[in-house]
């Protein structure tokens, strides 16, 4: 019996077998960053973009010196998984060593970062329906709500209220964009002759506001506001792989 327990304990304590590195990881470790990007991009196209793949792509893009693409990948990875360690480390590295500027998170964005925008929406929706049905069903059945139904309604309403800051933070976070082109000038007016206020580097993250005339009003990390051309920035939401700026879009 004792031997059996020891065997069981050994099985539980034994580490899980390490996953074999995929081709992209092998290429990355070997320093073939272009190869790693090609493999991971193929995986994204075939199986979809996940936080892990996007973060890995960000690392490889950064190694090749493509700050804008790397930041887009990392920001997208964080949207899918706000606790992705690779993307978090990459952004921190870009800020400290690469000179990338990123607006400080507001308290609501910090709050939203605990779970992610989609998770907050799912939680809020579920809590809303639970509370609504908890209120409706007793009335449809023409019976007084039981005690557990009342508790459920209160709990769901509490969860719904707690999810509201997360939704607001997710909304604010969604209005960010990454500078994709080098030597971008923040313009005073949304016109071709707009006076340049300050230069912004590739990879910097800005907060976006209303679009107008092919331009978007943005605010930089140090609080300067102005206009950038729409093609100069890329939003983390709404894409899989970073946009290829070398290839013009089909009309």
């Amino acid at each position: 019996m004792r031997t059996l327990w020891l065997l069981l304990a050994g099985l539980i304590a034994a580490p899980l077998p390490a996953a074999e590195p995929d081709a992209g990881q092998a290429a990355y470790v070997a320093g073939d960053y272009v190869g790693a990007i090609e493999r991971w991009q193929a995986q994204v196209v075939a199986e979809g973009a996940t936080a892990g793949r996007l973060a890995a792509l960000g690392n490889a893009e950064w190694k090749l010196g493509r700050k804008g693409r790397a930041m887009v990948c990392w920001e997208r990875a964080l949207l899918l998984d706000p606790r992705n360690a690779v993307a978090t480390a990459g952004i921190r590295h870009a800020q400290s060593a690469g000179g990338v500027e990123r607006p400080a998170l507001t308290w609501a964005e910090d709050y939203a970062g605990f779970l992610g925008a989609n998770a907050w929406l799912v939680i809020a929706t579920a809590a809303f329906w639970v509370a609504l049905l908890g209120l409706l069903i007793p009335r449809l059945r023409r019976r007084a709500p039981s005690e557990w139904q009342e508790k459920m309604v209160v709990a769901a309403a509490t969860v719904f209220l707690l999810s509201l800051p997360g939704l607001w933070g997710g909304h604010l976070h969604a209005r960010r964009a990454v500078i994709r082109q080098t030597e971008v000038s923040l313009r005073l007016t949304p016109t071709a002759r707009g006076e340049a206020i300050v230069g912004i580097a590739e990879g910097d993250v800005v907060r976006t506001d209303r679009p107008f005339n092919g331009y978007v009003r943005v605010t930089t990390a140090d609080g300067k506001s102005g206009w950038l051309q729409t093609r100069e920035i890329e939003s983390p939401w709404g894409g899989g792989l970073p946009a290829n700026l070398d290839t013009p879009k089909a009309p």
């Binding site: 979809g48 997208r76 998984d81 480390a89 990459g90 779970l115 989609n118 409706l136 969604a174 709404g238």
Partner: protein
């Protein structure tokens, strides 16, 4: 005994040594012009309480041509220090003039003041006559964009007009930045005026006019302070200057904007014995005169031996004319290594040439084993080796493409759920359905609670049908049956009874204004056969009244 005598001798020697007085003196200005007034201050420190000096100047014998007199003394009760002030006028003859040694009598003791030398030189710029004037000291040459041009306004007085101060210094020049530096009213070396330093920095090329103006405060009463009367006197300087870019010819690739005269003062590493992968800090200090605050840090490239994090140190200490550049180096390989050299180029605007500076490589002994790759950067490069903080990681982490988030199914487009149309459509549909169900349930509950609503509605329908049947009836019997049916159906909800059970008396309870005779006739005509008293009386005359009753009933329902 011998030892005791020696100790006593040492003690006496020490006591005698302590008893020696210390006398120092200072002359303002240090070098006087011929005939220039000067001040002499003699400071005495003694080991006894001195008290006030007596008959100072009795033994004072100034050299030929020099006037010197005792002007006052400073002393505090119960202190061992004293300060004596003398006023004098320098001789007309240039050279070193010696004031011979003299004694000063204090209540406690007599102190000997050693001989003092007064240097007289015509090069001091001392003027006896003439108005106070302002002079602009600024290099006359071509300036360069980004250069720091030191300048000064010298406000020189004379014996007749002394300059006491200045204010309102400002510069009007397009394409320049202007900044005052140092003390606003710094005394000139000859003591006959003040100066105010400033810095100009050209921002663009071209020829422009620099205008500097201000106001100096002049005392017209001479050096004697009792008769002095002050007044303001403005001054203005205009100078046409040419600004160019630093020439491209001969410009080294490592030139990063430095203009001036600099030297590589020192270079140091934070830890000379790091481990492989452990960041260390390389700090280089540049010193000299020039645009230290505008220099971009020189770049050092990474190599097989070192990973280099770019310098981001912008510290600049104007007071020390120093600028430091700090780089974070991460050793990749173990062994005795040399840090990368920091190469630097400076443009000298005076000679119009470039000079190269180099911060020498520093020896570093790297311990540990060579890893397959090094990607680790410490958050605190200055932390001690081996401490947990030194191992904090902020570099790129090892990618894990299999990692997934909580709601991360892996889609082609990373789109927010909030932007999904099916999500909102489904929710809105369900919400509408719920609202409909709720409304239906609420309506149903209301009707159950108020059954008279349904009864009236049913009665209204029946009265309407009866009125139509009565209107279209071909004979009196049909008319009477339809009328009675309508009257019974219309009155039943009001008295909560079954319509078939109502009589004409019940009808009159609901319709008190109805004619009883007409109601009797119509009921007898409709129901008379049931009770054995059929009536054949014509109802043509009552038709309008009965139809009006039915209409009134329908309206009341």
């Amino acid at each position: 005994m011998t030892r005791c005598l020696r100790l006593l001798a040492c003690f006496l020697a020490l006591t005698c040594a302590r008893a020696e007085d210390y006398v120092s003196w200072e002359m303002t200005p240090p070098v006087a012009g011929p005939g220039q007034p000067f001040k002499l201050q003699v400071r005495i420190e003694s080991d006894v309480i001195l008290g006030p000096a007596d008959r100072v100047g009795r033994e004072l014998k100034p050299p030929k041509g020099m006037a010197l007199r005792f002007s006052g003394q400073l002393f505090r009760a119960n202190t061992t220090e004293a300060t004596l002030n003398f006023s004098g006028v320098a001789p007309e003859e240039e050279g070193a003039h010696v004031i011979p040694s003299f004694n000063i009598r204090f209540p406690a003791k007599l102190i000997k003041v050693p001989a003092m030398t007064v240097n007289v030189s015509a090069a001091t710029g001392f003027r006896r006559e003439g108005q106070a004037r302002a002079e602009l000291a600024m290099p006359v040459r071509t300036y360069y964009v980004g250069e720091r041009i030191p300048g000064a306004i010298l406000l020189k007085g004379s014996e007749q007009e002394m300059v006491n101060g200045s204010f309102g210094l400002e510069c009007e020049a397009e394409g320049f930045t202007f900044q005052q530096v140092g003390a606003r009213n710094e005394e000139l070396p000859n003591g006959q005026g003040i100066q105010t330093g400033f810095e100009l920095t050209p921002l663009r090329t071209g020829t422009s006019e620099v205008t500097i103006n201000g106001i100096m405060l002049v005392n017209t009463g001479g050096l004697g302070g009792f008769t002095a009367s002050g007044r303001d006197r403005p001054f203005t300087f205009r100078r046409k200057v040419t600004v160019e870019h630093v020439p491209e010819t001969g410009r080294p690739t490592e030139w990063t904007g430095a203009i001036g005269r600099f030297l590589a003062e020192s270079v140091s590493v934070s830890n000379p014995k790091p481990e492989v992968g452990e960041p260390i800090r390389l700090r280089a200090i540049l010193a000299g005169e020039g645009n230290l605050d505008r220099i971009l840090p020189p770049e050092i490239g990474s190599s097989e031996t070192w990973d280099v994090i770019p310098s981001n140190d912008r510290r600049f200490r104007r007071a020390e004319d120093q600028r430091s550049f700090t780089y974070t180096l991460v050793p990749r390989l173990p062994g005795k290594q040399m840090t990368p050299a920091i190469r630097f180029a400076v443009f000298d605007p005076e000679t119009r040439t470039f000079q190269r500076l180099e911060f020498a490589p520093q020896p570093v002994t790297v311990t540990g084993n060579a890893p397959s790759k090094v990607e680790l950067v410490s958050a605190d490069p200055g932390a001690a080796a081996g401490s947990p903080a030194a191992k904090a990681l902020t570099g790129l982490a090892t990618p894990d493409p299999r990692a997934r988030g909580l709601l991360d199914p892996g889609s082609q487009v990373v789109a927010p759920l909030a932007g999904s149309r099916p999500f909102w459509t489904t929710n809105l549909t369900l919400l509408t359905l719920s609202a409909t169900l709720f409304a239906a349930a609420a309506g149903s509950a209301y009707l159950l609670a108020h059954p008279e609503i349904l009864r009236r509605a049913r009665a209204r329908r029946e009265v309407r049908a009866a009125r139509r049947a009565a209107t279209s009836a071909m004979d009196d019997a049909g008319f009477a049956v339809a009328c009675v049916r309508g009257l019974r159906a219309g009155c039943a909800p009001w008295i909560e009874a079954t319509p078939e059970a109502l009589t004409q008396g019940d009808i009159r309870r609901v319709l008190p204004a109805a004619d009883a005779a007409i109601l009797d006739r119509i009921f007898r005509r409709a129901d008379g056969a049931k009770f054995g008293a059929p009536s054949d009386a014509s109802l043509q005359a009552e038709k309008p009244a009965l139809l009006a009753l039915l209409a009134e009933l329908e309206a009341r329902l």
